[in-house]
Symmetry: C2
Subunit: 390 residues, 2 copies
């Protein structure tokens, strides 16, 4: 079966972006096109998948067709994928399957979100709607609350504590400081992060990612095409996805995310590797507790040991076996919902090619993982990438 | 490469459905499971794709995870596809590609829409948002208007007329009369359809499909599994899709839909057949003029001859070479946006197996086509099915 590589990747800066949906998408797509080493025209693209949750406050419908025609993609199959905050992690998976199926040689996967021109009410709505509505949202439990419940339970079961979460926040802000695409480029001290104002006990402001605008775009190609388009293609070694009950109370445990466990087990098995082989991982730290749990669910730490892992700084840039969120993660780089999944791929593409700022380059990076979660873990997509084809 | 078959298919009745999203989806999924001849458990499903536009007036987010857990699909990759009214036509295509890619053996594709508990304003919004917003919707041009422009231009260029559209309306109401799943089971005379009240000149009430609730679900399987699950699998012979500019004024012509032309050319080529080989087609007649143009774009009539085709009743049940919309089409069966694409597959699955009401069974049906359009033609998915593997 055909192997698939990423041959180009680009994104906008995350944050308060001055442009609207079409302009942001065009900026990301053009950056992706420009990153391709060989001769490339957008007319070579066979199909496109675009992840978006709120599609501009639900104002610009038929979003995939609208955006692709503004990036030189004419008359090809295009579709929008909406899977909460995992939308473009799944769009990437779809693009990869489209090539593996033999139906396409070059496919665009991307994501986009425009949040910062919404009224506070609409922003709150579109942020909250991806959780369980009937049992959680309508009772007032939105995402800071659901993740706070997970944190409290993790503290209770495993003896982790809020300081562990502060370590994650400080690390991610440190990683994002020099990332030109990051939303919050702030040097945050342990004391500052520890004393943030309370959002949902025990989570403070420094435990929560910001609300960002942003777009990201990656270009995948079948092996025989990838070698023509790129001198340094990044190979997709594995892709897995999973789901779980939407409402927390239906899950067997709220200190682990089954969708992540299933997605990563599948991706590792496909890549023929284990967590120990990963050099860097972009994980979905919408809240610091989400990163703590992800380090366990992805196999970087033993069950219950995510707090110890964070406390010991194992995920810090070039300090342990694996660097967690060298981009700054959702915490510092930002979280434009639908753009986050393929934005993670942009980061690992550049990291594996040695193309990020020197101060945050993971050394000798050969294998990378992206982990993109929808809602409080109802869906998850994990993709694994390597410099070398397996 | 692996061949793919539909082994099960089911749907709710379209119309004003008493249940909400979860209940409707469970009804359609259980009907699909029950239609499988062999031993089957939902736990055998590897992945699911669900098309929906408004997902219950945008109230029940993370829709794919929410619905699949209410139909026995636990912990598998699931995602929502939103591509306007072509959402589940594309969900079907994704499911087919997932199997072809070797990643899955059994995949669920479905669609759902709950429209009739929305306020008139919200219903209008969710119906209108899939057109071009900046140039069309905000100027007051919603879908009846865009299709009316196409009709007027077709009349002007090719000498077709409103009576041709009336013939389509009468035919589809006649076909839907005995369809137990149809929304509008009414015997509509030529005179009655001709004298409907004006909606958007020249389109009257009888040229427009209704707003329906509904859910549909189909189960696809890889060849080696399909033969175990079904004594009479229906094979997917080809699948194509395409897109076009969203706003009418950007298109080279508004009397043809380029996305349909591209999608069908690809699907025919893959199936190794031409339009002349199709015994029945479920086409996207959101407005009668859409069916008229589709008969041309899909190759059943010569360019400009869609009016003559309709006038001569060629698409009527068992009268010509091809039966167009034996289900009653969107006009009579109804149009629950996201459910329509896989709802068309439910119909051809049953038609090809000889399982619909005898009074509307297409005789000697061997090859069928589904045609699902998003918005005013910005996206289109065409799938071709056969009793025999090619």
């Amino acid at each position: 079966m055909v192997d698939v590589a990423v041959v180009g990747a680009g994104q906008t800066k995350y944050g308060n972006h001055p442009l609207g949906l079409k302009g942001m998408w065009a900026e990301a797509a053009e950056a992706a096109y420009a990153s391709i080493d060989g001769d490339f025209e957008p007319s070579q693209v066979d199909e496109a998948f675009i992840g978006s949750v709120a599609f501009g406050g639900a104002q610009l419908g038929n979003t995939a067709a609208l955006l692709t025609e503004h990036s030189g993609l004419d008359n090809i199959p295009v579709q929008r994928v909406e899977n909460a905050c995992a939308s473009s992690g799944f769009a990437f998976r779809d693009a990869w399957m489209a090539i593996k199926s033999g139906q396409a040689d070059i496919v665009v996967a991307g994501g986009i979100e425009k949040m910062n021109d919404l009224s506070p009410e609409r922003k709150r709505f579109w942020l909250g709607v991806s959780g369980d509505t009937e049992w959680e949202r309508l009772a007032g439990l939105t995402f800071p609350g659901t993740y706070a419940l997970m944190a409290r339970r993790h503290f209770h079961e495993f003896g982790s504590n809020h300081d562990d979460l502060v370590h994650i926040s400080v690390k991610n802000h440190m990683h994002g400081l020099d990332n030109e695409y990051a939303h919050l480029r702030k040097d945050v001290s342990f004391e500052k992060a520890k004393s943030g104002f309370m959002v949902a006990d025990p989570l403070t402001l420094y435990d929560c990612c910001p609300t960002s605008d942003g777009a990201s775009c990656v270009i995948l190609a079948a092996d025989h095409v990838a070698k023509k388009l790129s001198e340094d293609p990044i190979w997709v070694l594995g892709s897995g996805a999973g789901s779980d009950h939407l409402a927390l109370h239906d899950r067997p445990s709220i200190t682990q995310i089954r969708s992540t466990q299933m997605a990563s087990a599948k991706a590792y098995s496909q890549a023929g590797i284990s967590a120990a082989d990963i050099d860097l991982a972009e994980v979905h730290d919408c809240f610091t507790i989400a990163e703590l749990m992800a380090t366990e669910d992805l196999g970087f730490a033993e069950r219950g040991q995510g707090g110890v892992f964070a406390r010991n700084g194992i995920g810090r840039l070039n300090e342990g076996d694996v660097t967690i969120n060298p981009s700054g993660g959702l915490k510092s780089k930002g979280h434009p919902l639908g753009a986050t999944g393929t934005g993670q791929v942009v980061e690992v593409f550049k990291q594996l090619r040695g193309e990020v700022e020197q101060s945050r380059q993971v050394r000798d990076a050969g294998i990378a993982l992206t982990h993109n979660v929808g809602g409080s873990g109802a869906t998850c997509a994990v993709n694994i990438f390597g410099r070398d084809i397996k």
